[in-house]
Amino acid sequence: MESQSISISGSGRVSGGEYTQVRISGSGRVEGDVVAQEIRVSGAARFQGTVKAKEISVSGAGKFTDRVEADVLVTSGSCGIEGDAEAKELRSSGAQRIGGSFRGHYVRVSGVLHVARDMETDVFTSSGKFEIGGLLSADRVEIKLVGDSRAREIGGENIDIRASSGFSFGFSLTRGFRMGVGIGTLTVGEIEGDNVHLEATTADVVRGKIVHIGPGCRIGRVEYAESLDVHPEAEVREKVKR
């Protein structure tokens, strides 16, 4: 089927359907479900209906009122998805907000990410700030903390959380906290993984096989199967070997 492209550069409104390319650089509204090869938003766009595309990039302001499915979803502006989202690859250097759950393979956050429910992916890397209302699950979780991030639960194979480079340059972490110098923190209810390395993390429970609790951590209870080491500048209230 021959499908067409649309481009809105002033202000406009189109109905959903099947398109090759959708470009919105002015202010536009798409009403109805959309299937497209490529969607580019550099202005302000509002999609009312489900959206399915190979590639979606939002460098302006994009709002999606329903479910979004893409191979690649790139956000450098502000992107709000009110439903669930599924993307093989999500790269967000802007502000990404998902009202439901996210499923995918590869996620890279360098801006701000907000997911109301679960975030499930194979790889999750962040050097930004995130807030996940449910479970963050990945084979590889690599987080470099800037700002204060939160998740209800984190689970997977390798979980590696590092404080930002600030105190590897030798100033005391506790002081850093007191002065509020740009050191990120992570607050989580529960962390479960096979290899767990934590820094600057506050958690109720950490369970793992090989667990390393680094500086700045405050952990209620650690349950480990093989080994546990705790940095002198960390606080662990209870340690249990299984």
Binding site: T121, D122, G155, G189, R207, R221
Partner: protein
């Protein structure tokens, strides 16, 4: 809850699997969301699983994983991925149905997945001594609700029976019920037969795999 539950860490230990595997299988949909039961314990929140579901499932995943990729396993094991496009011609060849079960719903060919599950429910009842007419009732009940098979909601189908005397005649009424556990019947009735739809659907999927 009177179900026998097992804590997540005990699952790992008993089955000899890692957190990585458990979370990966959950992400793939091989372990249904509904099986993760969060409960408050003395040490805080913990996750539990229904023991009679999680342990066999891990065993299945492990024994099938040798030959099949995780994505193929999803097709076999994950209820929500139930093949709606299945058209199977010979239910008698499937062990949960067999020749006796096929008679409960006769078609020349082209049984859908839902019909196969319905037949397996009926056969399950037949094999434990329920009369064919009642087993048929169960088949009809499940067959009309094909959509419930695609969501891992843990539904149950049951046959309830009520017997009463009226003017010297003894009357027995059989009723088919579909719903979520715990399902209860009144004190004067009894549950004649109960089937776990999820379990039956799994058996059918495995049987389908075996014959192809």
């Amino acid at each position: 809850m009177d179900e026998d539950l097992i804590a997540k860490k005990d699952v790992l230990e008993e089955a000899g699997i890692s957190y990585g595997q458990l979370y990966r299988w959950k992400r793939k949909g091989l372990i249904p969301e509904a099986w993760f039961i969060r409960k408050a314990t003395v040490t805080g929140q913990e996750t539990f699983f229904p023991r009679d579901k999680i342990l066999p499932r891990i065993e299945q995943i492990r024994s099938l994983k040798e030959e099949q990729s995780l994505d193929e396993l999803v097709q076999i094991l994950a209820p929500e991925a139930a093949p709606e496009t299945v058209k199977h011609d010979d239910p008698a060849a499937l062990s949960p149905i067999g020749t006796e079960g096929r008679k409960l719903l006769w078609k020349e060919r082209g049984y859908t997945f839902g019909e196969l599950v319905a037949l397996a429910c009926g056969t399950h009842a037949l094999r434990s001594g329920t009369r064919p007419a009642e087993a048929k009732l169960l088949v009809d009940l499940v067959r009309t609700e094909e959509t419930v098979l695609r969501t891992p909601t843990g539904m149950t189908a049951l046959l309830g029976e009520k017997a009463f005397e009226q003017e010297g005649f003894s009357v027995r009424l059989t009723l088919g019920v579909l719903g979520h556990e715990p399902l209860k019947v009144d004190r004067e009735s009894r549950v004649k037969h109960r089937v776990d739809l999820e379990k039956i659907a799994e058996q059918v999927k495995l049987a389908l795999r075996e014959v192809t």
